[in-house]
Amino acid sequence: MRGEFQPDSELMKEYGLAPDDLLPASAEDKEATDQIRPSVSYWQDARKRFMRNKVGMAMLIVLAIIVLAAILGPMLSPYTYQSQSRDVRLGPSLSHPFGTDRLGRDTFTRVMFGTRVSLFVGVATSFSVLIIGLAYGGISAYVGGWADNIMMRFVDLMMTIPTVLIVIILSVATRDIFTSLLTNPRYAAIASMGSGLISILAVFSMFNWIGMARTVRGALLMNRSQEYVMASEAFGAKAGWIITKHLLPNSIGIIIISATGIIPGAIAMESFLSFIGLGVAAPVPSLGSLAADALNGIISYPLNIIVSSGLISMLMLSFNVIGDSLRDALDPRLRK
């Protein structure tokens, strides 16, 4: 019969094998070998690894609670972040869970609004950096040649600039420009967060994309030189196919890791600027300016500073730890 296995009887005799020993594998046998390890996709594996990390999961829950409170808190609270009253520096109570500040404003509402500001700055910066970095790094990696050379020279130049100094002065300088841009009623929701916030966001994006562009370019180039991409090209795959099917999926892990890494950095920078009084402008509260404000009564009324600085630390800690465990989960070099 064609295709059926015909053992060499001479050889079998030489090795002392009976004909029964060399039967073709049955369908069952084949299935058993196939299913020793069920196929696990990259994302399933990453999720499993992430969920196995207890500290990471705990921090994810903490972060979820903070995010929920930041979104719902100011909405459900009967006070606004700037409504003052005569109940100055109250302790915690049912109507004021974190007490009130020196102008009788509800600390809970203010702190939760400040958390909103922090979250917005962190996530929005990371998002815009992601877009700029993907575009810049992608073009640089794909076009290559002299364009890549010039683009990377520019990145090198940007890297040497002491960011902190420029960020401080730039966020002060651009504030009015963004205020005038935001007078358009269409952007009322963003404007309610304060124009200082938008200039901070723009300035952070302006300086943070550099690292992202490098990461993207590096990851794309590394994958581009792999044999499987060459094989795909040899089969006649077009640029679009190679980018969307090979390069991006294989670089996405490292890109997500760097994008999450941006969030705590941006939050820290915003709170630093607000703390020294050059960030989000009053009356909009930010965790940094709340902490600076609470310094006034630090000895007689430490609750305010404990709440605001505790919250910003929790926020940063959860983002840092989640970033770390995401790295462990997504970095293909660590996969076993």
Binding site: I161, P264, F272, N320
Partner: protein, 307 residues
């Protein structure tokens, strides 16, 4: 090697020039002027602007400033002139030593504590010590400078009343400002040390060294530690930058008359000559730190020189 050093020096100078230029124009573009005040008469402001030459075109001011700068003249601080009568250069000379003392001690403590700590964590990899270390380092990396400072202030200054919380007087007054900046640095650097050390320990040549029967301490220090130091050296440049940013917060909090505190103040007051002066000093410091790290790296890592 000389070419490498010279090339980096020139590019550092170019960067410094860039920063000066960007800051100058941004500062002028920032809303307000050094004489803004709700009560001030617009005519008086106009006269003052004329007196200081701020009514001329920005380009002319820029060229004038560069000319003065090349002659070593940083101008006079506008807000402090009437009070102290000092030039920007004199003010920097007066305040910088305070900042340098706190920042320098902080950097020294960070480097000298972090390296042994990181090594210890790497050697005791996957033990309870290592896990506690990882947790503490993520915790300290997450505490903003001001939170750390306020926490230390409350604990040691307000509740325990053992350490002073303001001014630089005796050695005790350095402890809180230095450590509120140093804690995150110590753990950050130590974590980097641990990671690179673990990386190096996994390399083949370490196995070879072990296989030929070298005692473990020799493998650790002669083979692993030297190579693990490379990335740590690079981290010292950014560390100086962080200490600098820290100084803006810490000097304000602990009432230290340092450059960081006055930098923040001068931006708020739009004190143009002071902003420029402090920016030039800070960026020169940062760029110098990066330059030294680059050169050191070239010396330590022979592979760089070959490029």
């Amino acid at each position: 090697m000389l070419r490498y050093i010279a090339k980096h020096f020139v590019s550092s100078l170019i960067t410094l020039f860039f920063v000066v230029t960007i800051t100058f124009f941004l500062m002028q573009a920032a809303p307000g002027n050094p004489f803004m005040n709700e009560r001030s008469d617009p005519r008086v402001v106009a006269r003052l602007m004329e007196r200081y030459g701020y009514d001329r075109p920005v380009w002319e001011q820029y060229l004038n400033y560069l000319n003065d700068l090349l002659h070593g003249d940083l101008g006079e601080s506008i807000t402090d002139r009437s009070l102290t009568g000092m030039t920007v250069l004199e003010m920097l000379g007066k305040y910088f030593p305070n900042s340098a003392k706190v920042g320098g001690i902080c950097a020294l403590i960070s480097i000298s504590l972090s390296i042994p700590l990181g090594l210890l964590a790497a050697v005791k990899h996957d033990t309870l010590f290592d896990r506690c270390f990882i947790f503490l380092s993520s915790l300290f990396a997450s505490l903003p400078n001001f939170v750390m400072a306020v926490a230390l202030m409350l604990c040691f200054g307000v509740w325990l009343k053992v350490l002073p919380v303001a001014y630089l007087t005796d050695w005790k007054s350095y402890i809180l400002p230095v450590f509120s900046m140093a804690f995150p640095q110590i753990f950050g650097l130590a974590r980097l040390m641990r990671t690179t050390m673990l990386d190096v320990i996994g390399q083949d040549y370490i196995r070879t060294a072990r296989a030929k029967g070298l005692p473990p301490y020799k493998v650790m220090f002669k083979h692993a530690f030297r190579n693990a130091m490379l990335p740590v050296v690079t981290a010292v440049g950014p560390m100086i930058a962080t200490v600098l940013t820290g100084s803006m917060v810490i000097e304000g909090l602990f009432a230290i008359a340092g450059v960081g505190k006055y930098y923040v103040g001068s931006i708020g007051a739009r004190d143009y000559p002071m902003i420029m002066g402090t920016t030039i000093m800070f960026s020169a410091l940062l760029i110098l730190a990066n330059y030294v790290v680059d050169v050191l790296y070239g010396i330590i890592d022979p592979r760089i020189k070959l490029e």
